[in-house]
């Protein structure tokens, strides 16, 4: 623009730059450096990749714990993320049609997202899944015997997955918005060609919203790999470590036991895993994501 001061944008970006250097770049590099050291008494000793070797050694206790956490995290992520995507897309698809009270439903579906991350509600979730809780009261109506959900590995996993899927609100809102942006003319043309409802969804709606599926998928994947509140508050990692997700193990290692170095190594492995999946999804996107322009 005319008469613009060349230095102005740089001055305005100073806070962001400090934030980037101090809160992002510095801890990013430092966590890798920390993972190469070990505290021995009062000294900090360079140990190279020793922590990484330990974590992948199934004969050591730390290795067993870590490999188990990786497995648990993978189970959690690869059930939760697809479930969130499918449920939110289905609900969005219904809400995108001409429906009365859309505003009410949008709010209703967002409320669990608003409250579900709150500790006050998360720990009540425990009472819902307890042997004497709401779900078992409900099942009893159908004559099903009480199930100690939280006492069984699969039940405990199911309860933390459900807690997260329950909060599909923001993913759904993003889908809903994308569905409304699909041009009406495409549907009209398809109807003239005799496409039925399913065909229209499969060949118009789905391709048109693939960029949004990509966005939602990646964001939820990154988030679910770092799940913490549910596993820590409801199941405390149990029973038998079946819900000890990696972020919980990192917390316990670094902050409860005070082993910041080993915790950093775990964080880096988690980071590399998340990056690999993100890159993989973006790479594959050229085969399934449809860009209009």
């Amino acid at each position: 623009m005319v008469g613009e001061k060349k230095w102005l944008p740089y001055v305005l970006l100073i806070p962001w730059l400090i934030g980037f250097l101090l809160f992002k770049l510095y801890p990013f590099i430092n966590s890798f450096i920390m993972s190469l050291f070990e505290e021995k008494g009062r000294n900090v000793v360079f140990v190279g990749l020793e922590h990484y070797k330990t974590l992948f050694n199934p004969n050591l206790w730390e290795g067993q714990q870590f490999l188990n956490s990786l497995k648990v995290t993978f189970i959690y992520v690869f059930i939760t993320v697809p479930l969130i995507l499918v449920v939110s897309l289905l609900v969005a698809q219904i809400l995108a049609q001409k429906i009365k009270g859309v505003g009410f439903f949008r709010t209703a579906f967002y409320i669990p997202t608003l409250l579900g991350a709150n500790v006050g509600i998360v720990f009540l979730w425990r009472y819902i899944f307890e042997t004497d809780g709401l779900i078992n009261h409900f099942l009893a109506l159908f004559g099903v015997e009480r199930v100690p959900f939280l006492g069984r590995p699969a039940g405990a996993m199911a309860s933390i997955i459900l807690l997260r899927v329950w909060q599909f609100g923001s993913t759904m809102l993003i889908f809903l918005n994308a569905l409304k942006n699909v041009p009406e003319t495409l549907y009209e043309a398809a109807m003239i060609d005799g496409a039925n409802k399913f065909q229209r969804f499969r060949h118009i709606t789905l391709p048109m919203i693939t960029p949004i599926i990509l966005f939602n998928g990646v964001m939820r994947l990154i988030e679910c790999f770092q799940a913490f509140n549910g596993p820590n508050l409801i199941t405390q990692g149990g029973p038998e470590n079946s819900t000890r997700v990696i972020n919980l193990l990192i917390y316990e290692t670094a902050f409860k036991s005070g082993n910041l170095n080993l915790g950093s190594a775990m964080s880096w492995i988690l980071f590399i895993i998340i990056m690999l999946f993100t890159i993989l999804i973006f790479r594959s996107s050229r085969y399934w994501v449809y860009y209009q322009d």
């Binding site: 962001w16 500790v119 109506l141 329950w166 910041l260």
Partner: protein, 295 residues
């Protein structure tokens, strides 16, 4: 003709049936908790309506210090502690990320593309990777005296909100950038020709248009700061500084705490969240989606 009408009616019923059923199941646990907070004795049944009605839970919840077996914890003290994290976080972050997004979307300068790439790059970075070194930083001998055991308001929570001074929330920046894209540049240019400087353009010309996204960003920051659990868990050592998210899990059902009183306190602690959400909701629902991805 008649057949079609019947089919239409059937389809409509199915549509509403599914959506109402899903909404019901989603909201039922929350409704049930409200009912259970009035129920005496056990946890209640599957029904929302309490079997034996009591106000004991709620009367306990309002008494400060009202934490029963968790002696000395007042609900209102914990709420104030939560707000000491939330207020600076929302105020500063809403502002600094707006300025950052404004510069990246509306200025032409060398390095613009790099800044944009770094913002998107950090958006995809898992927070876990930053957590341990930042903890070491805040706990270091040089920095810790700044905030630990500080008697000033807000200061004991410095590690939890300091980033908001420096626009570290890439998602907020990203939401603003997406919104700026939908505002025609002619608007800025006309205002500059009229003699406004770039800051006046932002605060006087663009602000009315930006209002919904500013409120949306502020609300999302409010929700995440209010609900934050892992941050306080790591940084806060002394019990007087505990926010709601640390005090609530200590509430256990025991001889002095009935289920009703535990539920009542939980409900009370999310009440502000609900009030804030509903007062900002007209700008919010839909806007998050509108601004998250466009183009």
């Amino acid at each position: 003709m008649k057949k079609r009408k019947v089919r239409y009616a059937l389809k409509e019923t199915l549509k509403y049936g599914i959506i109402i059923l899903v909404a019901f199941f989603m909201l039922y646990p929350l409704i049930w908790i409200v009912g259970a907070s009035f129920n005496e004795g056990a946890k209640g049944s599957v029904l929302f309506w309490p079997e034996k009605f009591t106000l004991e839970g709620w009367s306990k919840a309002f008494k400060a210090p009202g934490w029963g077996s968790v002696e000395g914890y007042s609900l209102f003290r914990a709420l104030w502690n939560t707000l000491q994290i939330v207020i600076p976080q929302v105020l500063f972050m809403t502002f600094t990320t707006l300025i950052t997004a404004y510069v990246v979307s509306r200025f032409r300068f060398k390095g613009r593309k790099i800044v944009f790439a770094l913002i998107i790059g950090t958006l995809l970075m898992p927070n876990t990777i930053f957590r341990i070194p930042m903890y070491a930083f805040w706990k270091s001998a040089l920095i810790a005296p700044l905030w630990e055991n500080s008697t000033l308001p807000f200061m004991p929570y410095l590690p939890l909100w300091a980033g908001s001074l420096f626009a570290v929330n890439s998602f907020s920046v990203f939401m603003y950038i997406q919104f700026f894209r939908s505002i025609p540049r002619d608007l800025d240019e006309a205002a500059v020709l009229d003699g406004a400087n770039r800051m006046q353009v932002l605060f006087h010309v663009l602000m009315p248009i930006l209002k919904p996204v500013v409120i949306t960003v502020a609300l999302l920051l409010f929700i995440s700061a209010y609900n934050d659990y892992q941050g306080p868990l790591i940084y806060l050592g002394s019990a007087e500084t505990y926010p709601l998210s640390l005090v609530l899990p200590m509430l256990k059902v025991d001889s002095t705490n009935s289920y009703a009183s535990v539920y009542a306190r939980s409900i009370l602690s999310v009440l502000i969240l609900i009030i804030v959400f509903f007062s900002a909701q007209k700008y919010f629902v839909g806007n998050e989606a509108d601004t998250a991805i466009k183009g």
